[in-house]
Symmetry: D2
Subunit: 385 residues, 4 copies
């Protein structure tokens, strides 16, 4: 229990500011009551998640959605609420100029504009004190022949090099990959291999971000996790879950066993050690469920998967593996997975002065009713705001 | 050649009004110059596609996007432009009430509202003289347990029965299925089996609509086509193509060989016979390509695949099949596929007084420049307008 | 607990005789010590699974692999061992004549031969007193054009009709579907829709068999289960699990949450009611794990998933669903899933005089060592024997 | 035409000795008349493919399937037949010792045995004068927890390093990757990223082999080709095609447009230049079609795709790409693809003194009838022989 508790203590899960705004699909974005109208209100919501779970101490920002005049004021506000500002996310996919790409666009003018935005994000990092710049590019093509696959890689490399040169010694560049969407034929950073190749070319401060929903059907994500930890380039997770494509459901909702296996590899590879720099973040769309509660549920799902992974009897596992005892080794893993860790987590929370059941405590608090009443008028936050 | 020409004469491809408006992904809708601002302008654009290809004589409407006060006036306008109004598409996915479903919603009030909209669409059909009502439901759930899978089927059946009872003797109800999106756990009509079961329960005027992009990875669509023709329930196609999910690319763009195989099964099963009631429609999103030209290219892709399928030496094919000559039978099919049918299609067009190269003729016409200059101000059409 | 215990009492899981023989992939079949050499030894092994789990009272046979001169003797032997003979599985895929198909083959001679084998299987059923004939056809094609998709459906329908006419009033014909393999372009019964269409054409004694590994990537199997129960045609399960294609791993090994959701729909639709005729069978390949222990683990996995599904607070679930409480409804389901049911199952076993931990008891029994020592010489059973 | 002819002249496609033997699925291997019974007869068949196509000058060997006492004699025999010995393929998947892995096995004894076999294959290369050693490992696990994912990578790296140290200056080590099968949970070299990481660690003589059937559903293979050519590590292709998993159908049979796109990227990246070291090989299973004819058809399919790719108007393509003309750029590509290149290829063959229609000429030759009559008795070659 001590070890498990210590492991849980080290598990900090960053929530993204945009998860508190409205989101949806191309068919419809459904509005919800109480949704934030500015970055401050987003941070207030994020602080609730931390207040009840004790495991979500930082908030990721998205530029320009969370652009403010005074980042110091935003940081101070966050601190007052009990959280801190975290990763800065760049956005080079929502301007009409980016229809055919941003940093990989055939037109140098568009590439310049996109790269300048990335550099501006580093300025924001300097202002917020953020360690990480997370780059996701929607760049790609929809039709065979539309653009030159290889030339786009060269353009990407050039832009990344410029950004990499700009970040400070204590800052990192996270390069996220995604199988497809919004590009439907080629995507310029479609897999971990591509992301890693660029990171290796850049240098040690460039690391791969694994979004758990960004893979081809059937892909073994924990294998990728093990592989990236082995070469020292697993930078971060964007957690969410999916049944089909990039469904962006709450992490652990679609396949809790997979999440457990992923956390097992994280721990196995040192990703939860005291000196680990792996960042754990949520990135999902609460299209139909309440935002704050959805984030809380997600944080708890990661905690439960981690607690189960920490419960694995590693000595027994290794012994079974080395003796070729297929069912025995699998059984050791399943014993941990089949354990109900909710009591253990309630205990962990209570030891920290928190409620054992964060969801019940949050619902009892009346926060949702309060913000629903207060946040009337103005523009609700969403993608693009 | 005579047979091929006759086959092509029977191939009428309906284009959808919404394809002329802006479309996009959840990340961004990119605006294009010259995009229509009302149903009349959409019809004008659709008429261009028909004027140059000679194969797109009707336009599908989407209610409420194409709602007008006077459908007779809209029909007359279409006739003036050289086209006619076609299938009526219902929309029960863009109202906040439909967040958890429309006709399958747990709340009877929402179901009533949704069904009423479907009935209203039949009123529109009566006004436009349309034969077909096409129903696609975005209904489904995102999380296990969210709703009762089976109860939703019962609710769906109830709503469909009410609509079926309302349509006239010469009208049809097309029930479209879709693998997933925007629902990410269950979809209430996810596959052809479900659609067919409901059609069988309703009666002979209920038919299945096959959207070529709405299947699980690897699904053999031509098999489904053969199966539905065999039981007399293939009602219509929504054509588009995809590499990943429901990418909604131009039909024939991602896998032209698949489109050829589909058209081969259509012809094999009588779907292009003189008395066939199979409707051929486009339903795709031109996110990054010009709209009118994209529709023209799509119509031509269907024509090319059909011409190749009509070229198959069916006697030689049957002989090879019956003798178990695997490579011989495959070779007969490939001989047709490998033929360059573009000269043949140019000839067919020229025999009708059209330009042999529709794209070149359209580009030379200056139509895009004209509408780009004229259609300034107002709200561009798109999903939701 | 009483209800759960009663539900578990009704859960009888049939194990297949061939699971006790060697199996493998196209690359290699690895031989294991102690593998049976004839149907009697297979039954002896199957009896072990029942002896320790108390939940596997019948054994499925595969003809001709389990062909014997005297089925009454085989049945009597089974009874002595504490089990009974169950479903008869036909095999029309391992004769050189079936290279291009069996009942769908273009050559009537081959079709006749295949249908005769099916009829012979009904003779075996009469001799063994089996209720179910399970039909799986490997029939399909590898290359476009190789054979006529629709003609093959007609041939299939003809053969099925002949077999259906032959079975008795208390017998059933189960038609299994499979997405692909060993055919790689078309498969003649590839999905539940095709299987159901044939069953509907045959009559009420024809039912669909759902093999949990036989679907396209991403397919929602519990939806199919709900759908088939709704129309009264869910005949049976072939349980196994998969990460990729038809991997045939132990059921519950790849995605225990999916198995739980499936059992929830089974229960919701009455499939575990006292009068249910749904058959629960294992059909998997223990390529690298010990056979008997692998079957035991699988039976226990189904029991655990069922126990969790029986634990669902259905009143709370319905209330949350009806009020549109997405996270609440999902939470009710997850509460059951997250419960550790192993103590409950141990109790259930002990109440029946069995060991609480079947695997430990079996391993302690020395059975594997015994058969490994005894079963030397002769030909080990496997696919084709 | 001159350029196209020169490009085709450089396109040498290696055929694999095992393609001439019987193959099948885990369900059944169907025997065919005339199938070779030893390596010499395989080479005689391979020589036929070259004799008629003029494009298949070398034959890959598989050790131990093609083990002979005197490789010089085998090489001389090949030369007499008009072909040469090519790539050496290792086999560490068909010994009972390899049930849980070969070079990644937890037991050092098994790893030693496997590595020794790889070293033995280099001895064979020295004897045959082969440039390439192709390594494919079936290694992986079936169940979560079965073995340590990361430790297996370390063991793999160690074995590869030993082999790499053994190969000569003019020899190469090709590392093939495969998504899954025969392992069904993890595969130790599942993707191009893993293969490339190991190659980078080894040195410049280690290159990636791309098998076109070894990817997750939806994977964009031409992107991988472009990426590997960009970093100078595309070593070879194993050509085949698939609709589902690793179906191993004839290359170009399932998706001829994809093959064209792949060859376009090969040419774009210099892979068909005079100084290119990219090896083009077939690796497919002719389960139901005649072997020699199947190989011929495959060679021709690659030639047709290559000829179309060579026809692309690269200047027009680049101009359209750079101006952001999506449909124009796609149109340039499609113009080449839609061209019927069969006359051009017939001309190319006739200029070399070959028949314009290789299949017809081969069938007229009576070779299949001859070997069917002669090759009676003995054991037909297949996987494992």
């Amino acid at each position: 229990m001590t070890d498990i508790s210590a492991g849980l203590d080290r598990l900090a899960i960053e929530t993204p500011s945009w998860a508190y705004g409205n989101s949806g699909t191309r068919f419809k974005v459904f509005a919800q009551a109480g949704v934030p109208r500015d970055p401050f209100e987003k941070i207030a919501d994020a602080a609730q998640v931390h207040a009840y779970t004790g495991a979500a101490p930082t908030v990721a920002l998205h530029i320009p959605w969370d652009k403010v005049d005074d980042y110091a004021a935003l940081a101070a506000y966050a601190k007052d609420q009990g959280v801190e500002l975290g990763t800065i996310n760049a956005n080079v996919f929502q301007d009409d100029d980016y229809m055919l790409g941003s940093v990989t666009h055939p037109d140098p003018r568009v590439r310049r504009k996109a790269t300048d935005h990335l550099l501006e994000c580093v300025d924001v990092m300097d202002a917020t004190g953020s360690r990480d710049l997370k780059l996701w590019f929607s760049d790609g093509t929809n039709y065979p022949g539309q653009d030159d696959i290889r030339a786009r890689q060269d353009r990407l490399a050039e832009a990344l090099a410029e950004v990499y040169a700009r970040i400070g010694d204590d800052q990192r560049l996270q390069l996220e990959y995604k199988f497809f969407e919004p590009a439907f034929y080629t995507t310029d950073v479609p897999d971990w291999g591509t992301s890693l190749l660029h990171c290796l070319a850049l240098g040690p401060k460039a690391v791969v971000c694994v979004d758990t929903g960004h893979h081809a059907p059937g892909t073994n994500i924990e294998f990728i996790v093990a592989q990236l930890l082995r070469v020292g380039r697993l930078g971060a997770f964007d957690f969410n879950s999916r049944f089909y494509a990039d469904d962006d459901l709450m992490v652990g909702a679609a396949d809790p066993f997979q999440l457990f296996r992923i956390m097992h590899e994280v721990i196995r590879g040192g990703g939860l050690d005291a000196d680990s720099e792996v960042a754990f973040m949520l990135d999902q769309c609460h299209n139909i469920e309440p935002k704050v509660q959805g984030q809380m549920r997600s944080v708890m799902n990661v905690q439960e998967a981690t607690a189960k992974a920490l419960l694995i009897d590693t000595a027994a596992l290794k012994a079974a593996q080395n003796s070729g005892d297929v069912l025995g080794a699998n059984g050791v893993l399943m014993d941990a997975y089949n354990t109900d860790v909710r009591p253990l987590l309630a205990e962990w929370r209570e030891a920290k002065g928190l409620a054992g059941d964060p969801i019940a405590a949050y619902k009892a608090s009346g926060y949702l009713e309060k913000i629903s009443a207060e946040r009337v008028g103005g523009n609700q936050a969403g993608w693009g705001a």
